[in-house]
């Protein structure tokens, strides 16, 4: 069964790298995954997205994702610039970096599950800058269960970090996992419509 994930962020936050680490973690757990990023001129702050497709068998289609089952947004202001919910599949899971309450987020009514974490505060404590990608990988693991913390940790060990060390990033995924609030939107979704 194919699962399609779209990650949103801004240039410099590590969105593309997060997709690569996630693909590595899924591969470590025996899955097949492809990750394709999309961006324009390479510059900090510009909207970036990355598509990740995961399956139990090899994946051939190297295409973008238009109806994601899971949407991850690692930047809390990006919703002002980009419709991060565009094309969302009905019943999708959302994993968002935000300090806001769920009813302040303008969530689409057909979303079924929400993982919410104050990723910027965690990143500021750990890295002294708002680099939220590792925190949000932990949040994704907690919200969806599609990848384990151990798998993410093994993938992190294979990665090369520019802005922080491995230990800090391992702490970031653990705190993202621990501090994510997971809400089932099934009963209350109309309240957020």
């Amino acid at each position: 069964m194919t699962n399609e994930i779209r990650l949103h962020g801004r240039g410099g936050q590590g969105t593309v790298m997060a997709a690569g680490i996630l693909a590595q973690a899924l591969a470590e757990e025996g899955k097949w995954a492809i990750a394709i990023p999309t961006f324009g001129f390479e510059r900090r702050g510009a909207p970036v997205s990355a598509f990740l497709r995961v399956d139990d068998k090899p994946i051939r289609s190297l295409t973008n994702i238009y109806h994601p089952d899971v949407i991850v947004c690692i930047d809390q202001t990006l919703g002002r610039a980009v419709n991060i919910f565009a094309g969302m599949a009905p019943g999708a899971t959302l994993v968002l970096a935000s300090r806001k309450r769920p009813d302040e987020l303008g969530l689409p009514p057909t979303a079924r599950r929400l993982g919410l974490v104050d990723a910027v505060s965690i990143a500021m404590e750990l890295f002294r800058r708002p680099i939220t990608n590792s925190v949000m990988l932990g949040a994704l693991a907690r919200t969806t269960g599609m990848v384990s913390l151990e798998g993410l940790a093994r993938a992190m060990e294979e990665s090369h970090f520019r802005d922080a060390g491995l230990a800090q990033n391992l702490e970031a995924i653990r705190r993202g996992y621990d501090e994510t609030e997971v809400l089932d939107l099934k009963e209350s979704c109309h309240a957020y419509a």
């Binding site: 593309v16 997709a19 690569g20 693909a23 590595q24 591969a27 097949w32 995954a33 492809i34 990750a35 394709i36 990023p37 999309t38 324009g40 001129f41 390479e42 994946i59 051939r60 289609s61 190297l62 295409t63 973008n64 238009y66 993938a155 294979e158």
Partner: protein
Amino acid sequence: MNQLTPNSSRMIVCDGNEAAARAVVLARPDVVSVFPITPQSSLVESLSQFVADGVLGAELINAEGEHSVLSALQGACLAGARTYTATSGPGLAFMFEPYVRTPGLRLPMVVSLVTRDMLSPQCVWGGQQDAMSVRECGWIQIYCEDVQEVLDTVVMAFKLAEHKDVLLPVNVCHDGNYLSYGVSRVEMPAAGLVDEFLGEAAVNWHIALDPARPMAVDPLTGGTGPGGAASFVGYRKSQIRGMASALDVFSDIHAEWGERFGRHWAPLVEEYRLDDADIAIVTIGSMTGAGKDAVDAARDRGEKVGLIKVKMYRPFPRGAMIAALSKVKAAGIVDRSVSFAWDCGPLHQDVMTALFASPVRIPLVGCIGGLAGADITAEHFARVIAATAQAAGGDIPASPIWLNEHD
């Protein structure tokens, strides 16, 4: 043991640019010269890192531009070095003067083209217009479908380039965006087995900057003086022979690769679900996976559709293409670039030429998609399949179908 030179095969996860760089590590070139350009930049950054880390023992030349990159490699190759570089779009354009000289010098370089649409309009995204613009320069051109094929093919390209019956430079093309940055899991072959596969570098037995056997390299040739024309024709015919030999040599290399590493790629064109097909779609590069998925979906609906993937594009594998096309009643060709001369894609033009030189007469539908980073999805391929089925019934479009015209 370092993961870049493993002594047994192992699974890694990386994008196509890193896969190409890792293949270069396995091929152990002596000289690598680079200049970064989107979407190739991360490829040469990886190579620089590998040299800095000591896992790639090559001389790395950071030149001031692509013209110098290829000129430096020509000198290195003439001195007996195995050489590599990679470029894209405007970088390839700036490389053009040494680029056209390289095949005539019979220098067996490997150069990855991380394909990018050509300017203008200003564009940094994928498309095959850059590689297609140099399709008549005498380089061998090979197009890859996925990240694993990039890794395997860059290694195989060195063996092809250096084969004594070929001795020509090779472009291994992988699509910007979808392969340059597309991440997937791939198998890294064992370094020792790659060493056995490639053998000793055989670069400059025919032409050399070598004090032990002095020779004039590339002296003035041709003109109307005695023997000039004959001499020039001799060189050109020799180049054509090298190109023609590449078809069989590359097939043999793929057979050996399959035996040693267990991955059996089609060397010239791949036929997918073609044997009982009524119609076929023809693909090139990273679009092929979505095309195969679209073929499977059509088969599930009961439509007899197959796919022909072009891997070797220069020289054009006309025998293999005709053999594949002879199995179907119509074909839809999907180009990721345009031929400004013919109001169709360049691959379409090549297929038409191949058909005319054969007894096979079937209608072709020309489709152009994926320009400037645009996606070619299973839905786009469904339109190609529908139009091709109509063409089999006699309704042949007079001009190309632009797949992304309304996206």
